[in-house]
Amino acid sequence: MDASRPLFIPVILGTARMGRMSLHAARLVTREVGKRAGVETELIDITQLPLPTEDAGEAIKDPGYSSKVERADALIIVAPEYNHGYSGLLKHVLDSCLKEYIHKAVGIVGVSAGPFGGARMIQNLLPVMRELGLVTIFWDVNFSSVQKVFDKDGKLLDEAFIGRMDKFLKELIWMAKTLRQGREQIPRG
């Protein structure tokens, strides 16, 4: 394994809703990931991906998204709760790749205006992660009452989230390093 190659952990913003507060959360997460030594990151906004809707799955794979996910060692998905689930557009994007995800780590950040911080969205997204070959970590970050966590300009109002993200990111980075070793060096049994 080339240990000098930095880890790449992009952040996927999984909502297209106008006025989305998840954008503030995604930007914060991206900044925090980018502070880690040996880690590179990038915010992937699903609204900016040119995926058609007259087909689905790998048939509509976008080369830009595919190459970023192929390069990735882990993913962070930041998404709000849509009727207890995740957005249809997020699923449409996730379904457009497969080999790019296999044996890579994923952490999920839930966002909600209410008290549950996207917990139900996360629970519903977990089986999708498993089927895509992604490896979930047991830490989440939950931005509940998100309108109180950020001001209208996206400034973080509750510094406790920095500590919560630290634990989440430590676990994700450990898993990303471990799985890179596995993907590159350990043959399947």
């Binding site: 394994m1 080339d2 190659r5 048939a59 192929e70 390069r71 060692d73 497969l98 080999k99 790019e100 296999i102 044996h103 070959g133 890179r180 596995g182 993907r183 590159e184 060096q185 350990i186 043959p187 399947r188």
Partner: protein, 60 residues
């Protein structure tokens, strides 16, 4: 049954590590081959130990 031939990374020209197999279901008649009556096939996943690039192929 999976393929014994090593895949070669098109970028680095080194042998890739075959680390996973997955049963994939498809409705695409072009993808389904003879004998795959339910539309499922086994896909192999390989990663380059040098650049981290990934590749996949149908198992033999």
């Amino acid at each position: 049954m999976t393929t014994d031939d090593k895949m070669i990374c098109p970028m680095c020209r080194v042998e890739m590590n075959h680390h996973s197999d997955k049963l994939v279901y498809t409705t695409d008649s072009q993808t389904v081959r003879m004998g795959e009556t339910l539309g499922e096939y086994l896909e192999e996943f390989h990663t380059c130990p040098k650049c981290g690039g990934v590749a996949s192929r149908h198992a033999a």
